[in-house]
Symmetry: C2
Subunit: 243 residues, 2 copies
C-alpha cells in the first residue's frame, strides 16, 4: 500500500498539500503491519513507551476505567484513524485501547513518529490538524453526554458513526454495518445497557433507525438529524489550508 492510497494519507492531505518526500515519509510509517484479536487491549493505561497505530481495518474503542470498575468509552476508531497519539507524546498511555473486532493496524514507534516530525515538519502540522478533528469529536461527545437525553444522545452517536464511515467508504446515508454490542454503546453513551436497549426500541418504534443484527438502518434521516440536533460540520474536510 502506498501513502497515496492509505486513508490516513488522504486525511492529512486534506489539510496540507503533501510533497513526494512527505508522502514517502508517511509510507515508511506504514511498514509494521500487525493484527490484534477482538477483546484484548492493544494499549493499557499507564504503559510507557507505547507505540501509536494507524488503523487499517476493524473497529477499536478508547476508554478509561474508573475506580468503581465502571468504564467510559471516549471514542470509537474506524479504518483510517490514528490511535494513541497522546500515549506517545506523554510517554505514558492515559487510556486503554481495545479492539471491538479483529483489527489490522500499522504500528508507529514513538521515535519514528518524533523523527518524522523533525524531518518533515509539515507533517507535524498536519497531524496537529488531524488531532484537532479528533478533539472536535470528543467535544461533541462531551456536549452530548452533558446536555442531551438518552434518546438524543443515542441518535447522535449512530449518526456520527454513519457520517464517519461514509467518509472512508464504509457506509451510506441509509445505513452501515456496526459491530458494537449494546454494552459498548452503553459505555460510550454513559448509560446502562438496559436503558440503551429501551432507547433503541423507542427509536425503532418511532420509525427512525433500526439497529439489529450488527446492522444500522436509517429509515428517516431528517427526523433523526433533527432529534439528535446533529450538525456534521465538525466532521467536514476543507481544502488544504497549507499550500
Amino acid at each position: 500500500m502506498t501513502a497515496l492510497h492509505s486513508p490516513f494519507a488522504r486525511k492529512l492531505g486534506a489539510f496540507v498539500a503533501l510533497s513526494g518526500a512527505e508522502m514517502s515519509a508517511l509510507d515508511r510509517l506504514h511498514s509494521r503491519r500487525k493484527v490484534f484479536p477482538a477483546g484484548r487491549d492493544m494499549v493499557h493505561e499507564g504503559q510507557i513507551n507505547q507505540s501509536a497505530y494507524i488503523l487499517a481495518s476493524g473497529w477499536v474503542c478508547s476508554y478509561k476505567i474508573l475506580s468503581g470498575g465502571t468504564r467510559q468509552i471516549v471514542d470509537f476508531q474506524i479504518p483510517g484513524d490514528f490511535l494513541g497519539l497522546r500515549s506517545v507524546l506523554f510517554r505514558t498511555a492515559d487510556h486503554n485501547i481495545e479492539p471491538v473486532i479483529k483489527v489490522e493496524a500499522s504500528e508507529v514507534l514513538a521515535n519514528d513518529l518524533l523523527e518524522t516530525f523533525s524531518n518533515t515538519p509539515r507533517l507535524a502540522t498536519a497531524v496537529l490538524w488531524a488531532a484537532s478533528r479528533d478533539e472536535a469529536m470528543v467535544v461533541e461527545h462531551l456536549v452530548g453526554i452533558g446536555r442531551r437525553d438518552a434518546k438524543e444522545r443515542t441518535a447522535h452517536l449512530l449518526l456520527e458513526l454513519g457520517a464517519r464511515l461514509k467518509l472512508v467508504g464504509l457506509g451510506s446515508t441509509s445505513g452501515y454495518g456496526c459491530p458494537l454490542s449494546q454494552y459498548l454503546l452503553a459505555d460510550a453513551l454513559g448509560l446502562s445497557a438496559v436503558h440503551v436497549n429501551r432507547v433503541l426500541r423507542e427509536l425503532r418504534d418511532d420509525g427512525l433507525v433500526t439497529f439489529q443484527h450488527g446492522q444500522v438502518e436509517i429509515h428517516d434521516l431528517n427526523a433523526l438529524v433533527q432529534l439528535a440536533d446533529f450538525d456534521k460540520t465538525y466532521l467536514d474536510h476543507d481544502g488544504p489550508l497549507l499550500k
Copy 2:
C-alpha cells in the same frame, strides 16, 4: 513581557527545549495585547477567519449551545492557556469563548500562527503537545460526566482547577480564588444550578471543600481526592521530549 517569562512559553518549553529563534518567534505572537470585558463572547461559533489567543489574565469558558437553548461548557481556561486553536485550523470556530471575568489576552492571527509553524516547525510539534494536554483534560471531563455522579464530578472539577492554578502560581493545595458562579459550574458539569448548590452544601457539610464568596477552600484534600477518584497524572509536566 518576553517569551522567557510568558507562561505559555514555559508550558511549551516543558515539551521541546526552545532555541533562541523559537523563543523570539513566540515573543512575536505576544505583540497584540487586547482586553475583553466579562460576559461578551470573544469568539462565536461559526465565525470564520477567527484569531487564536494566549490568555494572560482572567478566566474564560469554551462552550456550545444546543438547539434547545441549553449550553455545555467544555472547559475553562486560565492564564497561560491557548484559546481557539481549532477555530484557526478549521477556518471556522466550532465553539464559543466567553470571558468569565475581565480578560487580557494576546491575539494571534491565523496567518501569523501558520507562518510561525512554517518558519519554526518545532513549535508546531510543541503546540501539538500542548493541544494534546488540553484534549486529555476534555477526555477526563467526558469520563466524569459519563460515569461519575454529581458529587464526585463536582469534587473532581474543583480539584482539577486547583491543580491547574497551582501550576501557574495562582493557587495552592489549600485553596484558590474562583470567579465561577453556580450556573457556570452547572453548565460545565452537565447539572442544574439547583443541584450544584445542593452538592456544594453536601461537600461543605462533609468537611471536604468550601466554595463561597469566590473562594474555594480545600479542607480535606485526601478525602476529596478519594471521593473524586482524582488522578492528576494527566496534568503533569514531564521533561522535554524533544531535545
